[in-house]
Structure formats: structure tokens, C-alpha cells
Symmetry: C2
Subunit: 326 residues, 2 copies
């Protein structure tokens, strides 16, 4: 791959800003591949990001996330919004088939110039969000998306991770999934901004809503005054999505007027900067001179020759004078 196929970064950024889908795709690939050009890409995008509203979409397998995401795209397009979709796939080989099937529905939008759709592998985090998701969000943001939907499979941590990255977090439930119990376990009561009971034409939808409402009333949500609405949808028929879009809009207005938007974005940037710095340090510790310093220290801990704190002190001393693990 020579200079021609990689492309010139400032030119790619310029073309992405003009709505060139291939330039957008190329930039996201650079992000995914952790290209050596990544720093230059991020520096080039920095002045243009910060306008898109990021909507996280999560829920247990089977609640209809992909169908809902696709129906939401349709609804947002009706309103003239430019839409980005990041589908973060679980890494498990077992679910590949099913998701591939779901993805096909997205092809309704494949020819729409104002919709960018991208599947990302979630490396390292089981079922969770890829480390590169925040950077891919920045690409779509700089490319002029008004709304970016991030769809992820809900298994444990990922609801919380997505809530950390999104302006508005949508939690999907459906009747007959045993979600009443799962809800409390997975922490979804604390992180949702809008709750959607999908497959609402099935038995039990009202019960799911009632149960959720009473649990939300009891949940300890960190002192905000947003009362998350519960919307019923039948995504496969496109029903109720207008209301979901309206509630996303309400939440967006609340975020802006309450100052919570800035709080969330600051937190997001903080997490991202910190993760980059920590990753750099991990690489340094993990491989300095062939055999890593960290391995040697870990060996001393296993042998009982030192303890983990003293070992951590040694790691820290390696990077800076006077640093200790206290």
C-alpha cells in the first residue's frame, strides 16, 4: 500500500467534510486499523467535530435492535437529518450469522447519500464497544452527520460503556425476554435516557412497561431531573418511531438547557484522552527490551520476592522521577 492508496490526510478530511462517502469510509478504516496516520487523522478532524448528537442503542439479544436502528434511520431521514450508523458487533463467532442477517435490513439505506453505515468489530472487549468507537464517532461527526446511532449488543458492561459515549442512550426491551429481571442486574435502570418497549404488538408489552416504570421510580439515578420516558414501538412495521425521535429531541433540548450536554462531552473526552495515555504506558511496560519489565516484576510477585505495590512503584519509577503507587 503506497502513498496513493492511503491518501493524503488533509485531503481525505476535506473530502469527508464535503460528504464523500468513500473518504469517510477510508478515514474510519484508518481508525480501525490503528494506522500510523491515526494521530494526523485525529488532529485533522479536531476543529470540525462536536456537532453531531450521538444516540446509543442497546438491549439484550432478540429485542430488535437492528430493526429499530434501521427504522430510526428512516424516521430521521424523513426529518432531513444526515445520519451515521456505527454497528458494533460482538466478537463471538457464534453470533456472526444472526447479525449478518440483521445487517441486511440496513441495505434499505445503502443508496442514500446522507446515511453512513459502518459495522465495527469489538476487539478485546467481549460484546462491548471497540476501543476505536470514539474515534470513528469523531469521523462521522466531522463528516457532517446530524445524528449518529451507535448500536451495540447488550451484555453486561456494554450498556454502561455506551452510556459513557452517547449523548442520549436508548434502552430497548421486548415482551417475553425476561427483561424485568435482567434490567436490574445489568444496570440498565441507571443509564437509560429513553426506554423503548419494542414488539409492542405482542402479549406482555404493557406489563413490561408497567414493571419498568415502577423499577425506574425506585432506581437510584444520579441526581439529574430528566425523567426517562417509555415508548412502545413495533419497529418491524415502523410504528412508534416518530415518538422515539421526538423523545430523543426532547432529551437533546434538556441536555443543552441543563448544561448536562457539556458535562457528558467533557467526561467523554476525559475518558478518551486517559485511555490513549494509559494504552501508551501499557505498551511501554509490556515490551521494553524483548522480555518486558512488567513480566519480570510479575515474576517477582509470584515468587513472593516482592509485593504488587512495590512492583508498581518500580514501573512508575521507570517513567518518571518520584512517582509512587500511593
Amino acid at each position: 500500500m503506497g502513498r496513493r492508496s492511503t491518501g493524503n490526510v488533509p485531503e481525505l478530511v476535506e473530502r469527508a467534510r464535503e460528504g464523500d462517502a468513500r473518504a469517510v469510509a477510508r478515514l474510519i478504516s484508518l481508525v480501525e486499523d490503528a494506522s500510523p496516520l491515526l494521530r494526523e487523522v485525529m488532529a485533522g478532524l479536531a476543529p470540525y467535530a462536536g456537532n453531531a448528537h450521538v444516540v446509543g442503542i442497546t438491549g439484550s439479544p432478540g429485542v430488535g435492535k437492528s430493526t429499530s436502528t434501521s427504522a430510526l434511520v428512516t424516521e430521521l431521514r424523513k426529518a432531513g437529518q444526515r445520519v451515521g450508523v456505527l454497528a458494533v458487533d460482538p466478537s463471538s463467532p457464534f453470533s456472526g450469522g444472526a447479525l449478518l442477517g440483521d445487517r441486511v435490513r440496513m441495505q434499505d439505506h445503502a443508496l442514500d447519500r446522507d446515511v453512513y453505515i459502518r459495522s465495527m468489530a469489538s476487539r478485546g472487549h467481549l460484546g462491548g464497544l471497540s476501543w476505536s468507537t470514539p474515534q470513528a464517532l469523531r469521523v462521522l461527526d466531522a463528516a457532517g452527520c446530524d445524528v449518529i446511532l451507535v448500536e451495540t449488543v447488550g451484555v453486561g458492561q456494554s450498556e454502561v460503556e455506551i452510556a459513557g459515549m452517547a449523548d442520549t442512550t436508548l434502552i430497548l426491551l421486548a415482551p417475553g425476554m425476561g427483561d424485568g429481571i435482567q434490567a436490574a442486574k445489568a444496570g440498565i435502570l441507571e443509564v437509560g435516557d429513553v426506554y423503548v418497549v419494542n414488539k409492542a404488538d405482542r402479549d406482555g408489552a404493557d406489563q413490561v412497561r408497567r414493571e419498568l416504570r415502577s423499577m425506574l421510580a425506585l432506581a437510584e439515578r444520579s441526581g439529574d431531573d430528566w425523567r426517562p420516558p417509555i415508548v412502545k414501538t413495533v419497529a418491524a412495521k415502523g410504528e412508534g418511531l416518530d415518538e422515539v425521535v421526538a423523545e430523543i429531541g426532547n432529551h437533546r433540548e434538556w441536555l443543552a438547557s441543563s448544561g448536562e450536554r457539556d458535562v457528558r462531552r467533557l467526561r467523554r473526552a476525559r475518558d478518551e484522552v486517559e485511555a490513549i495515555a494509559v494504552t501508551a504506558l501499557r505498551e511501554r511496560w509490556g515490551d521494553v527490551h524483548g522480555r518486558s519489565e512488567l513480566d519480570e516484576l510479575a515474576g517477582a510477585v509470584v515468587a513472593g520476592d516482592t509485593d504488587p505495590y512495590a512492583a508498581a512503584d518500580r514501573l512508575l519509577a521507570d517513567i518518571g522521577e518520584g512517582l509512587t503507587a500511593t
Copy 2:
């Protein structure tokens, strides 16, 4: 709390090694409270840890983890083993009640001098393992436990976390829990060393075993040659636990003979040392002069004045000359 109630660390360690349950409890409390004495505690324990076999026990809510843990303690005591139990509770207020009920069964062992039982709150990690679990393991280890059982609620990440800390990971399933599907999602196929189908007197137990067996045959397990057995139990009646103990023993022997035990312990120590060092750096970045350096950099990223990589470089430059995020 003056010096008297805290106790003298070398003396506490000495008493814990002699089997004094109160000294063990006190040391774990120092760990849990992140006491200023923590470093001294860890240094004091270092020469005496490394003998216990750590068994992680995980599975979805309702499979009978606590009952199984208690029955395992009974079985291990029959074999004359000194046993430690760390029960890592989920932080969700909703499940507190149910777990409290389970805990009661543990009181069968409350008067046994050779059983240490301790519940730990899982702070910060939703449903996952407490950051202080490895340190509490070291206390029980140094106190002469032959086997330490770590019981945790299985929601997403925690199976993987516990597998990182345990020598042998037990995955519990039960008929009628929809675990067949959950199995693939949560990554339990990759991390279990021994699988237990509990409530085996119920309909569907054989089907769960069959399904699990065929999924395990397909799973991409990192190139080890241990073939995880599947054991059927009825923990409430104490049935099948002898076989579980036997399989734990088989796995323990395999770990030793294959060299995998050392690999796992080295990795565990590595993760622990790294986590301590990273936590120290996070604290430093998070609060330097009232308003934190990280907050200022995050603000510049949000404003588009800089990008996350350049911001990470600034963080790194603060701790050491010439460090960059590449």
C-alpha cells in the same frame, strides 16, 4: 480508630498465618477500606502467598451459585482442606435481598475454624469483581487456605474477570434458564475449566449438557489441551459435588504438569501490578492543582482546540520526559 484497633501489621500477619480468624478478617477489612496500611499489609503477606488453589465460580442469576459454593465447602472439608470463600456481591440494590437469603446457607460453615467466609462489595464494576479481590485472595492464601472459592454473579464481563483471577474457573448452568443462548453471548465457552449443570433433577438438564457439549466442541479456545468436563449436580441435595471436587483436582494437576499454572499466575500478577500503577497515574492526572490537568485537556478537546492524541501526549509529558502516545 487509634493504633490499638488497627493493630500492628506484622503481628496481624503472624496471627493470620496461625489461623486466627479475627486477624484474617481484620486484614481483609484493611484491604477493602483501602487503608493507608495496605502497602504494609501486602509487603507483609508477600512471602507467604502462592500456595492456595483459587477456584472461580460463576453463572447467571438463579443457577444456584451460593448453594453450590456451600456444598463445595462441605465436600472440600470432608477432604480435610482449609477453605476460603470470597463472595463478590453485585452492587445493584435490587439483588441485595436475594443474595442475603443465599448467604444464610453459608452459616452451615460459620462455626468451622478451617473455613473463612467473606462477602465483598463490588465497587465500581457493575456486577463484576471488586478491585480489591486479588488482594483479599492474597490474605486468605497467606492465612493457609488450601482452596479459595470466589463466587461472583455472572453478568457479561465478570466471567472473564474471574477467569483472569482463578486457577480453575467453574461455570454453572441450569435447565430452563435459557443459558444455551446466553452461553455464546457472554463468552463463557472460552473461559470455563469445569462446567457444572446444576439442578440436574429438573427436566432439560441432559439437553443443556448436550447443547453445551456441542458448543464447546465448536468454541475457539486458546490453544490449550485441557478438555473441560461437564458435571451434573443437585447442589441443594449435595449430589455430584464429589465429582466436581475430583474434576477441580484433575484440572489442578493438569495446570501444574502443563506449566499453565505458572502462566496464569504470572498473568494475574501482571494485571494486578499494572492496575495499581494505572490507578496511581489516574489519581495524579485527576487531581493535581484543584482543577485537574485532565479536565483542562478534555475541555480543549471538546472545544476542538486539540485532539485526543495531542492531549494524551501532554498528560504523559507531565509524568516523564520524552513519553508520547504513539
